[in-house]
């Protein structure tokens, strides 16, 4: 099945972090690509959902068992860095 994108996990991320997350722009620690969470390809699996870097396909965010874990995708420190 074709991948979705980070818009599809907006609800889960809001529930996990308490605020809107899809406009946040992070950096892939494997290839350095900067992408908004909304732009990450998202793959839905049985146990959970995986968002990956659109550049190199490395794992960025894993949603499993009600938690969201960032792995290989660095968020900016609080402040500017949001997609408009």
């Amino acid at each position: 099945m074709d991948a979705l994108d980070g818009n599809a996990i907006a609800g889960e991320l809001f529930a996990a972090f308490g605020h809107e997350m899809t406009t946040v722009v992070g950096t892939c620690t494997s290839c350095g690509a900067r992408s908004a969470i909304a732009e990450l390809p998202v793959h839905v699996s049985g146990p959970g959902t995986v968002a990956r870097c659109p550049g190199c396909a490395s794992v960025a965010i894993v949603l499993a068992r009600g938690t969201a874990r960032f792995s290989g995708y660095e968020l900016p420190s609080p402040g500017p860095g949001e997609a408009e």
Partner: protein
């Protein structure tokens, strides 16, 4: 879990009738075969494809696609159970038994890690993939296994939750210790027996 709201008139997919003895607790029967994956579909050409048994073994063994197909095949018909609660009965496959691949392999390992194109891994006890319990399959329902469903070849371990039946498998590494794979690292059960509802670590 408190559930105040029932959606008036909602029943979900028509639950097929089936022998309840074949459906593990918490599961629902389906005729579909949803496409689920943790990453993009890899495309490995059959010229490049190899399957390897390595790790804690006397000597690693590798088969090319041609060599793999030349091994004895079996055609298991099995029930499969996904941790998302759907079960599908009487699925038909063709492949090579893991027992065949492990013939003459000397190992001190009691576990295996399945390694796949795209980087996915899952861990299993050796006793869960031997004695007729597991295959590397390359046909589903009489046709070559679709890339979306794990083709050219995937692991098939039907007595465990289906995330253990790793798609796009390229090898089994024998290990001395149980080494959690992708989903296991995120809290899913190391074994995954649907009859004991072993979905998560810690039961």
């Amino acid at each position: 879990m408190a559930r105040d709201h029932i959606s008036h008139g909602f029943t979900g997919r028509r639950r097929e009738s089936g022998d309840p003895a074949r459906i593990p607790p918490g599961q629902y029967l389906t005729r579909d075969f949803p496409v689920l994956s943790a990453g993009p579909t890899p495309h490995t050409s059959l010229d490049e494809w190899t399957f390897t048994i390595d790790g804690a073994v006397d000597a690693a063994r590798t088969w090319t696609w041609k060599e793999f197909l030349a091994l004895p095949h079996e055609a298991p018909t099995v029930d499969i159970h996904c941790v998302t609660k759907w079960s599908k009965l009487d699925t038909r496959w063709r492949g090579v038994s893991v027992d065949t691949l492990l013939e003459d392999v000397d190992t001190a390992g009691e576990y295996v890690t399945a390694r796949c194109d795209g980087g996915y891994t899952t861990n299993l006890a050796l006793e869960d993939v031997t004695e007729g319990k597991a295959w590397i399959v390359f046909e589903y329902d009489g046709e070559p296994l679709d890339p979306e469903h794990g083709g050219p070849a995937r692991l098939l371990v039907p007595h465990l939750y289906f995330w253990k039946s790793a798609k796009w498998v390229r090898g089994l590494a024998l290990t001395v210790d149980d080494e959690p794979g992708f989903w296991e690292t995120y809290g899913y059960h190391n074994r995954g027996d649907p009859w004991l509802e072993q979905r998560y670590q810690g039961g």
